[in-house]
């Protein structure tokens, strides 16, 4: 038998030549490094979350969560800001969900190829890459200046719609894509139209990932800032802080945190900042947890299988 150039060709021993020892060591070192990075990420998250709780715990109180902010004196709260965050969130969802759903259905179920589809996908991907501050300025131009609404909740919501549309479209497409084609074939084979198939078969099967995605994106909308600063504004009305009109100036909690840091004149910036940051974090946690549970519950209910 020809002896190969690589060691240890043909040697009957199963003992480990030095080359293998080094390679095995390199393998173990790199594996260890990878584990380090992964654990590092988890630990870092724990550190950040823990620190936020540590900082903000003292600031939380019923008063803090419900009282209006103060301009100059200490003791302000974030009540109206929380209201505005939810208000804008709901408003944004009212616009974004139908459009994203319909576009997603169109892209996933109807137009499988073609120029129009390519352009739509290109625009969606591009919008997703545009920084939200740029979107905010766009909103400023269109809603505040052009349409003359001044700072308004509606302007903010519409801006956020454009910001989050690509993400929600992708969620819809993936949710619909997770439904096996066999379901569609079975339905159409029974004589249903495509629309009937989509509404009665595909969407119910896709409900779990859809809702999960919507809730997760809601979490992101709740924390959105850059696009809102110059569209929904930096203040709440003193006389009517819980204004339900579409056009009221609506500072959200996230914007308030930034405002407190950068412009505010109150002496207890640290307290308000810590408290606001913690409340924001808790809201995001709640949204994430809700997304998981809803996803699982809906999946079991609508399809009888756990996703």
């Amino acid at each position: 038998m020809a002896v190969s150039a690589a060691k240890p060709g043909g040697a009957p021993l199963l003992t480990v030549p030095s080359n293998v020892k080094i390679r095995r060591a390199a393998n173990n070192v790199m594996t260890g490094l990878l584990w380090l990075c992964a654990c590092g990420v988890v630990l870092m998250l724990a550190l950040l979350v823990g620190y936020l709780f540590y900082l903000g715990y003292g600031a939380l109180s019923w008063h803090f969560i419900t009282a209006p902010p103060s301009e100059v004196t200490a003791g302000g709260g974030i009540g109206p800001e929380i209201f505005n965050s939810f208000y804008i969130l709901c408003l944004t969802l009212i616009f974004t969900v139908p459009i994203a759903l319909l576009s997603g259905i169109y892209l996933q179920e109807y137009a499988k190829s073609g120029r129009f589809r390519q352009i739509v996908i290109f625009c969606a991907e591009s919008l997703a890459t545009v920084p939200s501050i740029v979107m905010g300025l766009f909103g400023l131009l269109v809603f505040v200046y052009l349409l003359g609404w001044k700072f308004s909740a509606l302007g903010g919501a519409l801006t956020l719609t454009v910001v989050n549309l690509p993400a929600l479209m992708r969620v819809t497409q993936e949710a619909l894509g997770s439904v096996p084609d066999t379901y569609r074939e079975a339905s159409m084979g029974l004589g249903a139209t495509r629309w009937q198939t989509v509404v009665h078969v595909v969407i119910p099967s896709a409900v779990a990932p859809l809702i999960t995605g919507i809730v997760l994106i809601s979490g992101r909308i709740f924390g959105e800032t850059a696009a809102l600063i110059y569209t929904a504004g930096l203040s709440v009305s003193v006389n009517n802080p819980y204004d339900w009109s579409l056009f009221h100036t609506a500072e959200t909690l996230a914007v308030h945190l930034w405002y407190t840091h950068s412009e505010s004149l109150v002496p207890d910036v640290a307290r308000i900042g810590n408290g606001s940051a913690l409340v924001l974090l808790i809201m995001v946690l709640l949204f994430n947890i809700a997304a998981r549970f809803l996803g699982r519950a809906l999946s079991a209910r609508f399809t009888g299988r756990v996703s």
Binding site: S4, A5, A6, K7, G9, L14, N19, V20, R24
Partner: protein
């Protein structure tokens, strides 16, 4: 039908090998002796465990979480499952060719040189010689010698499989395991591979899993029949096909089940 060669020392011996996937008992107490420089075919209906057994020979189950192998597999008398053995060394001495060709998205040269390189060979001249030797042994050299640095993905299916064979023999293994190497290929490519195996057995001990009895009869000297995770019978190929001892073997050979 290939005539059985004179008896030589057994290259690979499996003793009471069991393979479990979780709680599923896939291979039950399999014992087998493989003579050196011969072709042994593993046949049996699909799902009977022939590929599972084959993979146990070069410790490929180490890569599957949840898989467990008990028993011994002796290579030249030494147990490859002994705790101090590094599977990397085993896989240098036992090569494997898979059912579907899986060339790396690299050049033809780099594919063949991959094995020697990772095991430490750096000398360019040696690598060049090894690549040529391996490609010749795989009957591929003439077809690719002018485009060694082109991507391997540009080759046809049959050529890719021969490339995978070249890649495996580049390490000069002592044993070559082949898991249905021609099942994804057309008849012409298949017969080229079969001719190749006839040549390879002069250098290497070949164990081949095949679902085609005709193929086993054509190319192997010894055959083992698997059924439901057990080795039912193992003998020279001519005996298995003309004078099977077990009824199950006879039923399979005559096509009563498959």
């Amino acid at each position: 039908m290939v005539e059985a060669p004179p008896v030589t020392q057994d290259k690979v011996v499996a003793e009471n090998v069991n393979v479990y996937y979780g709680s599923f008992h896939a291979i039950k107490n399999a014992s087998l002796k493989i003579p050196a420089k011969s072709v042994t075919a593993l046949i049996g209906p699909s799902g009977c465990g022939k590929s599972t057994f084959l993979r146990a020979i070069d410790r490929m189950h180490d890569l599957t979480p949840g898989a467990r192998v008990t028993g011994k597999v002796l290579l030249d008398g030494q147990d490859i499952y002994a705790p101090e053995v590094d599977p990397v060394v085993i896989r240098h001495r036992i090569g494997m060719v898979f059912q579907r060709p899986n060339p790396f998205p690299k050049s033809i040269y780099e594919n063949v040189a991959y094995g020697p390189r990772i095991h430490g060979e750096r000398n360019r001249k040696v690598l060049d010689a090894t690549v040529e030797r391996s490609l010749r042994q795989a009957a591929l050299w003439d077809e690719v010698k002018d485009r060694l640095h082109h991507s391997a993905l540009g080759l046809s299916g049959g050529q890719q499989q021969r490339l995978c064979i070249a890649r495996a023999v580049a390490l000069n293994p002592e044993v070559l395991l082949m898991d249905e190497p021609a099942s994804a290929l057309d008849p012409i490519a298949t017969s080229k591979i079969e001719d190749l195996i006839g040549e390879l057995k002069n250098e290497y001990t070949v164990i081949i899993v095949t679902h085609s009895m005709q193929q086993a009869a054509r190319i192997s000297e010894f055959t083992a029949f698997f059924h439901l995770g057990e080795i039912v019978e193992h003998d020279t190929t001519s005996n298995i096909f003309t004078r099977p001892k077990e009824k199950r073997t006879e039923d399979y050979i005559t096509g009563r089940f498959g």
